[in-house]
Amino acid sequence: MSDITHTDVLIIGAGPIGLFAVFELGLFDMRCHLIDILDRPGGQCAELYPEKPIYDIPGYPVVGAQELVDKLLQQIAPFKPGFTFNRMVTALERLEGGGFRVTTDENEVFEAKVVVIAAGGGSFQPKRPPIPGIEAYEGSSVSYSVRCMEEFRGHDVVVVGGGDSALDWSLNLQPIARRVTLVHRRPEFRAAPDNVNKMHALQEAGALDLVIGQVSALSGEGGKLSSITVKGPESEVVVPCTRLLPFFGLTMKLGPVAEWGLHLHENQIPVDTEKFETSEPGIFAIGDINWYPGKLKLILSGFHEAALMAQAAKHVISPKERIVFQYTTSSTSLHKKLGVPD
């Protein structure tokens, strides 16, 4: 039995809205823990458009998406949130004695008095490449990540893609696979030049194959892949393949959120606009994941939702305590929480 992590508020999703929620909840003395399937905070801002400018954050005529994430992290630092990355929240259950239990895909268990779903457009998951019939081989011969390298030992491994993951795994699996073939659409790679050079060195030494083209067909039987066809600029080649690792980036899928017994409105979670609470008392939903009449998927709207949700969450955790409205500018008690010097 694994250890249970206890917290006041468990936040599912560390996008900009989940991050800002830590601030609003922190002002009311609620401790937060965030879980995200990504390997770092920032959600869409960090994963999809870190370099892009945002023009509609109040007070910032322009701010880079990653810059905004960095500033949010700085803003919430006084509240010392806990983070668990690279984990998908798979289960959310109500505990009999009150509160909730949250479980990840690695079976870590968290217990919290309140749960805030800030899951955005859903969890980031590897994109399935549009190769006809690929579903039939998933889980057996086709995988989108490497959990255990031993599963590739002695296999004809084909890695598809031109980014860091594709190059990393080509290099890491090369010593243990029977043969590694890297397939990429064009001779230029997005991956770190250092690894591209290493790959070319192996290729020149005859220890790895590089094929330029796009995978057009798979063949095999009973869920077991035997070869793939690569359509190149001039010709087609058939490459022996018993393990296929396609790296086509990440896309957002609603994922496990749909399985937690909450009402859904076209892949979004309906909430009221006073508390941003879901159909389950004590479970709130803010940011892109929620829906209410007039909903706009904007960062600024999510920030507002976080502020109102925090009041309601406080009421769930300390029903008897009277909530006093205070400004961060002038409240000495808020200054103490924020670490502002007297």
Binding site: L48, K127, P130, G161, R185, R190, G249
Partner: protein
């Protein structure tokens, strides 16, 4: 106004009047051309606005820049005339441009 023609995967033609400075993707969405998804809203971050530029127009439309070329790695059945339509800005010289929507987006 500049005239653009989209040929959907089933062969249906959509002829639209586009404003200069807007993108070929934006006009597809405004006119509900099927098969252009544009999940990222034109940020060159999703590759779901992929089109094939008609051969007669490829030289005028030009080549993708490095970031778009990287993103095209995620598209389906990329060809030499593939472009991400959110990265093509409408301008006078493109009056009459024809693009074809692929069978599926990445």
């Amino acid at each position: 106004m500049t005239k653009l023609t989209y040929i959907a995967h089933d062969g249906t033609r959509f002829e639209v009047e586009a404003e200069n400075g807007s993108t070929v993707m934006e006009n597809a969405i405004r006119n509900a051309v099927p098969g252009i998804e544009a999940e990222c809203g034109g940020a060159c971050a999703c590759a779901t606005c992929h089109v094939y530029v008609d051969d007669a127009w490829t030289a005028l439309v030009g080549e993708p820049e490095a970031m778009e070329e990287d993103m095209l790695d995620f598209a389906y059945e990329v060809q030499p005339n593939s472009r991400l339509s959110c990265q093509i800005k409408v301008r006078d010289e493109l009056d009459g441009l024809v693009v074809t929507v692929p069978e599926r987006q990445g």
